[in-house]
Symmetry: none
Subunit: 540 residues, 2 copies
């Protein structure tokens, strides 16, 4: 049996970034885009080039580091009233973004045209048609986002359909129905989408443009609305990873994709990709620096956690009683205190992803799992800190070399009014039995610590001169503890060719940072050695 395709269109980088508290650097955007590409998302909306300089640069950078299979899409408005598409300055940065696909949005709601745009209903149709024709003439394939579709259609269905028809006749391949204020309920989406599919078919176009759906969660039904539209004939769903977006967010693709693919029989991202869903969800939440929603469907830490004793034994007898799908299908896992089996296979899968073959029955395997559980309980997280996890595994496998030994540090910060603050750090390490004390100043206590440590080690390990700290993230684990809360620090390092991330946890932010800095240097040195003398790591 073949599965019909439903195309997933991710707008995390544009609509998702509208969420309060999210502010993405170009590097963040590139990393997310590549991650979505690896997940098999076919369309990735990159931003609105021209609306801000960051988005222009993002598209340029993407030309240097292109995606492997996803189409990156540039987003913009139609031309303004009373001008021509050819002279519209907003289209210049769109064209220079050099994407194959462009999405433009236009008005569907008569009230928005006359009162918002202050133009005529006719001119709005021309704006939609002209803009699409112009961009197609420049070699682009077009997606049309019909803003405020459902409100507009309820008020004036004839006019709303005319706006879609203008887009379709101009050559748009996709007509996307947007519930911009998120107020529409599933039964309305279902009925209206069905009517639109019929209307579009009646225009006798060849090919018939396809329908998409873009929903917001203001009524708590963004996911259900997307599913309702697909069941009425839509074949594209727009949404964001983790449902990020303004107000109550957009349709959460981490929920939409498994519902469509595992329950409704659509093909979205490929059976071999959906297992990466949980990992992608958590990685994106790290990159945007928001705590992951532990109760998120499918991908949340608690999505398959069983608390009640009855539940636990029932789940073990028959998982279907309290699990609607197999958690592993989406890369998540059942969390039951007494069952180690699922955890063990996770370690095996993770190890495999680092090229380390472990045998399930080897005692070291259980040892790693045990240590991992202890550390995760303390607040460590290895999803985004794979270098630290590899060091952990090497330690258990007795292949972690002792390159240096950390003896301790002292940090002193001094701040006077109207003065810059002063930070001084001193570290003590031993290398090959030799004890070294080194001190350095820095912009703050963490950078002073980092500098002192490099100074201490540089003469023994000159490769350190090539290492750079490329990212530094801090997350407070239990905010309710205030400034006494545990802190998790993630540090990303680079040697110019490869990047790796390490983690540290402590109630003392300096201590947590120091752990991550130390492991970052150690892992970098390990990479240098492996390049000079590659050894396959195997245990069986």
């Amino acid at each position: 049996m073949t599965h019909p395709t439903c195309w997933i269109y991710d707008t995390t980088l544009r609509d998702g970034a509208q969420r309060e508290g999210i502010s993405l650097s170009i590097e963040d955007k590139l990393r997310i885009a590549h991650r979505l590409d690896a997940l098999g998302i076919p369309f990735i909306e990159g931003g609105w080039p021209g609306a801000n300089p960051k988005d222009v640069q993002f598209f340029w950078r993407l030309q240097e580091e292109p995606l492997t299979q996803a189409e990156v899409v540039a987003f913009c408005s139609t031309r303004r009233p009373g001008t021509t598409a050819a002279t519209e300055p907003a289209f210049k940065p769109i064209l220079s973004a050099r994407t194959r696909w462009v999405t433009i949005f236009g008005k569907s709601w008569d009230l928005q045209v006359t009162e918002g745009l202050k133009t005529s209903l006719e001119e709005n149709l021309a704006m939609i048609g002209d803009s699409i024709e112009f961009l197609i003439a420049q070699g682009r394939r077009m997606i049309y986002d019909a803003e405020h579709w459902f409100d507009g259609y309820k008020q004036n269905p004839d006019y709303a359909l005319k706006t879609l028809e203008a887009a379709a006749r101009a050559g748009a391949e996709w007509l996307v129905l947007c519930d911009t204020n998120g107020g529409t309920l599933p039964h309305e989406v279902s009925e209206i989408t069905r009517q639109v599919v019929e209307a579009v078919a009646s225009w006798n176009l060849d090919p018939i443009p396809q329908i998409g759906i873009h929903t917001h969660n203001d009524s708590g039904t963004a996911v259900a609305n997307a599913l309702a539209a697909v069941r009425s004939g839509a074949r594209m769903v727009q949404g964001t990873i983790n449902g990020y977006g303004e107000r109550c967010g957009n349709a959460n693709l981490c929920t939409v994709i498994p519902n469509l693919q595992l329950k409704l029989g659509y093909s979205c991202i490929g059976e071999d990709k959906i297992i990466k869903l949980t990992e992608t969800s958590r990685l994106v939440s790290e990159l945007v620096n928001l705590a992951p929603d532990e109760h998120a469907p499918f991908v949340g830490l608690s999505a398959f956690a069983h608390k009640g004793g009855i539940h636990v034994s029932a789940v073990q007898r028959n998982p279907l009683t309290y699990e609607h799908i197999e958690p592993e299908t989406v890369g998540n896992k059942r969390r039951i205190v007494i069952s180690e089996q699922s955890g063990l296979s996770n370690v095996l899968i993770k190890a495999q992803s680092f090229g380390i073959e472990l045998d399930r029955d080897h005692p070291t395997c259980r040892q790693i799992l045990q240590r991992l559980k202890e550390l995760e309980h303390q607040g460590y997280q290895f999803e985004a800190a794979e270098a630290s996890f590899e060091l952990l595994m090497r330690e258990a496998l007795l292949t972690r070399q002792s390159l240096f030994e950390i003896k301790g540090f002292q940090v002193h910060c001094d701040k006077r009014t109207s003065d810059m603050s002063n930070s001084l750090a001193t570290v003590k390490v031993t290398v090959n039995g030799e004890e070294i004390l080194a001190s350095a100043e820095g912009n703050g206590p963490v950078s002073a610590l980092d500098s002192a440590l490099r100074k201490a080690l540089l003469s023994f390990y000159p490769a350190i001169a090539q290492f750079q700290l490329t990212d530094y993230k801090v997350r407070i684990l239990d905010g309710r503890e205030g400034t006494s809360a545990k802190t998790r620090v993630l540090i990303e390092s680079s040697n110019g060719q490869k990047r790796w991330t390490t983690v540290g946890v402590s109630t003392n932010i300096l201590d947590a940072s120091y752990q991550a800095v130390v492991e970052g240097l150690e892992y970098g040195l390990l990479l240098t050695q492996t390049q000079q003398n590659p050894v396959a790591l195997k245990l069986s």
Copy 2:
């Protein structure tokens, strides 16, 4: 026009409390029950008396402090196989709970009966019927929760309907269809509920039992499933405040109620009560000690927040463009987010919400905007730090009082291998011309700084003893600068009644934290003064 009634059945105190991290005292449960009563919720499930001693006591306490209009409901299982209802020990605490209504749950799924209960399909029907008849004979009115309804019905509809019929013929007034593992999608709920309503009508009972719906959010569609069931004829919705519940939670009543009442025309809790919804949601989150979901539909802090400049002016012209309902209807409010994209009108609206009247043409207005943009360029962010923004405005308006002056700080951290780290902070402040030096130790440098500052100020401002740091967030602004990057710290404080957030930015994380701690204390003192001596702040 009269509105049909849809009965709301709250199970926050039972199913909601299954959420990881929630543990309610009897006092907490009583406060929540009274709050739900005040909200006009007609049925409040109090717990399972007998399953734990706390629940037994809760029902006894409630007899001393009864609810004004809600029915409190006791919850339990049917009798066990091979016994009689009259000798079932589990029913004793149910009867001593002295509620008018009792909910019992039973098995609908044949597999659960034969494999889970290890009994016959016939005996299961007898267990359901006997238990209900017995409790009715003891003067109770009965609600029957059909566990695993949708899975059972899909596997064996005939048997599933027989279990419902057993409950109905025994006298249950409500038959509640439970999607226990949360895997069912809205179109299935819709169709199956319709079939159940038809089947129940065909039994020719008088009165005809009514149908209820109980959903979980594992597919992200708990709310939509509840709405679908109501549209197919269900007249009771079971759910929890804020959607608390095991795994991904239960149907969120704070979303279900406004959808039913404001959009679908059902009467649930009375028009004068729904305005308390936001307040109730936040109060319950305080009582269960979980951070409120700021992006929750209808009641979240960001549910009606507008960030982009285009949105802000569009919302002011026509609120329907980005607001699906009037926020005041549910006791929420529109929030204009102050950010880089802000214009003058954002500042004016924001000031108004603090009770400060600004005139658009007054030079101070532009001054505030100018300062705001400078600070945001440096990395400050006022979206989430409204207290710091208010202090900024008061400074420009020359109404910021100087309560204390910060002279500087010193911090010393010391860490040796195998030792806990040690942090010591010393601060220098002046209050009313008097210079104070105070030192304190802490779990880390920030908590040491916080403690030292409180110590210095406490004798001058005893109100500080009431302030608590309730959240601490750290964001590295440009991670690529590594440990030299600028750091933004957000600190949330509370005085037991109100919460406020302040911000600090620096390349030195201690300095940034210190700024936010200092403003947090200052704003808290401002609140204390305003409560004692309220002054309207006006500029025109």
